[in-house]
Every structure is written in structure tokens, then in C-alpha cells.
């Protein structure tokens, strides 16, 4: 397969859009969170101000850190987060790099920012960061199984019922909305899978109740503890973009509907309407998966998080999978 070079032109545009959107959504997140706590809250552009300030600050590398690892991990986290977005349908367009990778790749790419955080934490030579990094890894091992079950079940469903060539390709999944492929039983199963995915979301994004790897009040920001200035800015950007990427993935898997399917529009209006509709969907997913949750709950302990993700969440995912299979095979 030869690389289409027009794709390369789009990548920078896309990355910048992703970063801007990430910051914007973080602003909305903070504002809404404040509103829900009956506060006025920071202005929506606050993350931009913070970013500007962080870029202006001194960038300290601790003496006993492994320098090149410490400095490269924020970059790796950010680029992996952006890379996910290039493989997921975004703003109503098909994935930019479709044909070069599929859902399995996205699964692995989503893991990289968390791993980079952990490695960066270990390399910084701080005890707090090491504790944070260990927690990050434990958490990852807990939610990854439930997460893969959701993905694999959907891919299986698509292969089984829709005549598409590559079931793991996100394009084919977003062309055939999964809800149309199942009966009542499968529908309930899919709802459960969606629930499991939404429960995995805070852990995947490192937000409350599963922000145990940073846990400001216990281990002083954990994996971030030694990062300052530019490196810290990159890490925060990576988290913001990852939030967008994960929400886009949820949208692509469960809500791939385009606005033009409901209202027939033509030309540029259709493109804009689709993009806005996509953003609304991403926002709704973020709202229920992260914003709403993190103002309402307290933090898990590590063992509680592990138990929750290996227990109830996994169970929900498994029951969902069983129902979908039952409905498809028997129904």
C-alpha cells in the first residue's frame, strides 16, 4: 500500500485542531464542574492561559532523573494521543489514516499515554512518582480486560451480521451502526457494553474516581510530581487530547450517526453540521463519562479500583457480550 501524500498535509492541521479542541473541552469541563459545585468557576479559556503560563516557566529536570527518558515521555504521550485521533472517525470525516490500521491498533495506541506516564514517573527518580507509576500500571491492568471485551464483541457482531470485509476497521463499524444489527436481547447486551465502556472511561482518562495515579492529596500529583514547565504542559495536553480521542472512539463505536442522516443537507453546510453534531456527541459522552462523574464521587483506593474493574465492570461487560452473542446466534 502506498502512502497517500495528501494525508501528510492534513496531519498537522488535524493535530492542531485536536489540541485546540482538547483545551476547549477541558475548559468546559472545569466550568461545568464548578457550576455543579455552585461556584462561578474559571473562564472557559482557562486551560489556554494555563498552557501559556506553563510554556513560559522554567523546565526543571531533576538531578537523579534519567534525562532522555524523562524528557521524551511527555512527547510520546502527546503524539500517541494525537495518533489515536488519526485512526478514529473525527468531526464527521472518515479516519485520516483508515486503511493503515484498525481497532486493535487503536486499543494499543490508547495504552501508550498511560505507559508513557508510568515510565516518565519511574524515570524521574522521585518516590512519589514511582508510587504513582505503579498505581497507573495496576489500574491499567484492571480496566484493560473489560475494555477489550467491549471492543472485541462489537467487532465480532459486525463480522457475524454485516457483510463487511474487515470487521476491526473503524470505517466499517461506523458505516453500519451496531444498534441495527441486533434484536431485543442484543440491544440490552449492547446497552450493557456501553455502560461498561463508560465505566472504563474515567480510569482510561485518569479522572476521578480513578485518578489514583496522580492523587494530588495523597502522593503529590504522583507521576507528574517532578514535571514542570514545558514538559508539564505537554503532559496536560496529552491528557486533554486523550479525552477527546477516547470520547471519539465511543462515539464511533456506538453513535456513528451523521447529522445528514436525519436532516438532508448539501455541500459545505452538511460538512459543518456533521462536524458540530460530532462535537455535541463527544461532549455528551464526556459529560456522562467524566465531567458528571468526577464532581459526584470521591477517589478509589488502588485495591478498590482493581476490585471494581475486575469485578462488577468486568461482569457487566461479560454479560453484555453473552447477551449480544445469544441474540445474534439464536435470534
Amino acid at each position: 500500500m502506498t502512502m497517500d501524500f495528501s494525508v501528510l498535509l492534513f496531519v498537522p492541521v488535524f493535530s492542531i485542531t485536536a489540541i485546540l479542541l482538547g483545551l476547549f473541552f477541558r475548559g468546559i469541563d472545569r466550568k461545568l464542574g464548578a457550576k455543579m459545585q455552585a461556584r462561578i468557576g474559571p473562564p472557559i479559556i482557562q486551560p489556554f492561559i494555563d498552557l501559556k503560563k506553563l510554556l513560559m516557566k522554567e523546565n526543571i529536570v531533576p538531578e537523579n532523573a534519567i534525562k532522555w527518558v524523562f524528557n521524551s515521555m511527555p512527547l510520546i504521550a502527546l503524539s500517541a494521543s494525537i495518533l489515536v485521533l488519526l485512526y478514529v472517525p473525527f468531526l464527521g470525516f472518515p479516519p485520516l489514516l483508515s486503511g493503515y490500521g484498525d481497532l486493535i491498533l487503536v486499543l494499543y495506541l490508547l495504552m501508550i499515554p498511560a505507559l508513557a506516564l508510568a515510565v516518565g514517573g519511574f524515570s524521574s527518580g522521585s518516590t512519589y512518582a514511582s508510587v504513582g507509576a505503579q498505581r497507573e500500571l495496576v489500574l491499567m491492568m484492571s480496566y484493560e480486560f473489560a475494555f477489550s471485551i467491549v471492543i472485541v464483541t462489537i467487532a465480532w457482531l459486525v463480522t457475524k451480521t454485516a457483510p463487511v470485509i474487515n470487521a476491526f476497521s473503524l470505517v466499517s463499524i461506523s458505516v453500519v451502526p451496531v444498534w441495527g444489527l441486533v434484536g431485543v436481547m442484543g440491544f440490552i447486551g449492547l446497552l450493557l457494553l456501553l455502560l461498561a465502556l463508560m465505566l472504563v472511561m474515567p480510569a482510561e482518562l485518569g479522572r476521578l474516581p480513578a485518578d489514583i495515579a496522580e492523587a494530588k492529596t495523597e502522593i503529590a500529583d504522583g507521576v507528574f510530581v517532578e514535571y514542570s514547565g514545558r514538559n508539564l504542559a505537554l503532559l496536560y495536553l496529552a491528557l486533554d487530547v486523550r479525552t477527546i480521542a477516547f470520547s471519539s472512539l465511543v462515539v464511533a463505536l456506538f453513535f456513528p450517526f451523521a447529522f445528514t442522516e436525519f436532516v438532508p443537507l448539501q455541500g459545505i453546510v452538511a460538512v459543518i453540521a456533521n462536524a458540530l453534531f460530532f462535537l455535541v456527541k463527544v461532549f455528551i459522552v464526556m459529560f456522562f463519562g467524566s465531567i458528571f462523574v468526577h464532581v459526584a464521587v470521591a477517589r478509589f483506593r488502588v485495591d478498590q479500583a482493581a476490585r471494581a474493574y475486575w469485578g462488577p465492570v468486568l461482569l457487566i461487560a461479560l454479560i453484555g457480550m453473552a447477551l449480544v452473542m445469544w441474540g445474534t446466534v439464536l435470534g
Partner: protein, 154 residues
């Protein structure tokens, strides 16, 4: 100049160098939804590495001296040090105690003093706003210095 035109992002780190905890509680009160400092972009952070402002409470005891110096070194530039409470400013009720090496400005440069025993949250917030202005001046001075150095080179 109104608050709106200022660079609104200050992350504060709180260092207790042996205070009676009165000032610390007032700092916490300033962070509650009632005063809601997040609307000015002020945020409490868990590590000096992320901080722009050090909030120092207490008249530094001998045991805390090294730690204070270390935290000061760990904070990336540009930074501002604020002393909250009379203790840190003068020694306060612990004045001339045998175990003090403070007050704070004997050890590290202090930019803003917030007097009071303990000061009210409003006073602390006002102090942070003062610190804010100072940071901006530092920034402008840095730019001026750079410009002058550039001109000298040419």
C-alpha cells in the same frame, strides 16, 4: 488595571514551616466554594514543581529550615513567595523563641506579606492578586533585560 486584563493563572503551593495551623486553615477556607479562587485561575497544586506562588506559613523552626530552602529551590522560575500570617513576617507569638531561625525573609526572598493572626481569606486572596502583579512586573523586567542585552549586542 482590572483583574480581567491580568494573566490569570497562578498555581499555589502551601509550605508549613511550623505554624500553629491557624493560617493553614484560613488558606483552605480561601479555596472553598464560598470564595472560589478558581475563577481567578488560582489553583492549589500538590508539588512545588508546578507552583508559581509559595504560600509560607509559620515562623521557620530549625527543623524546617532545610526543607523550606529545598522547596524554594524546587520551584521553577519565575516564582513569588508569599508569607501568610504574623508568624512568618516577624515571628508573631513565637517571637524570640529558642527554636526559631526565621522569620521567613531571613532565609528566602519574600515578595508579599499578608499580616494577621490569622489573616482572613479575603486578605489572602488580595495578597495573591498583589503577587500576581509582581509576577507580571518580573516578566516585563525580564523582557526589558533581554531587549537591552540584544541592543547591546548590536
Amino acid at each position: 488595571m482590572g483583574i480581567n486584563t491580568l494573566n490569570r493563572s497562578l498555581w499555589v503551593f502551601h509550605v508549613n514551616t511550623g505554624s500553629c495551623n491557624g493560617c493553614d486553615i484560613e488558606i483552605v477556607a480561601a479555596l472553598t466554594p464560598r470564595y472560589d479562587v478558581e475563577r481567578f485561575g488560582i489553583k492549589l497544586v500538590g508539588t512545588p514543581r508546578h507552583a508559581d506562588v509559595l504560600l509560607v506559613t509559620g515562623a521557620v523552626t530549625r527543623q524546617m529550615k532545610d526543607k523550606l530552602l529545598r522547596v524554594y529551590e524546587q520551584t521553577p522560575d519565575p516564582k513569588v513567595v508569599m508569607v501568610i500570617g504574623n508568624c512568618g513576617a516577624t515571628g508573631g507569638v513565637f517571637y524570640e523563641s529558642y527554636n526559631l531561625v526565621g522569620p521567613v525573609d531571613r532565609l528566602i526572598p519574600v515578595d508579599v506579606f499578608v499580616p494577621g493572626c490569622p489573616p482572613r481569606p479575603e486578605a489572602i486572596i488580595e495578597g495573591v492578586v498583589k503577587a500576581w502583579k509582581k509576577l507580571e512586573e518580573l516578566e516585563a523586567a525580564g523582557k526589558r533585560k533581554k531587549k537591552r542585552a540584544k541592543e547591546a549586542k548590536e
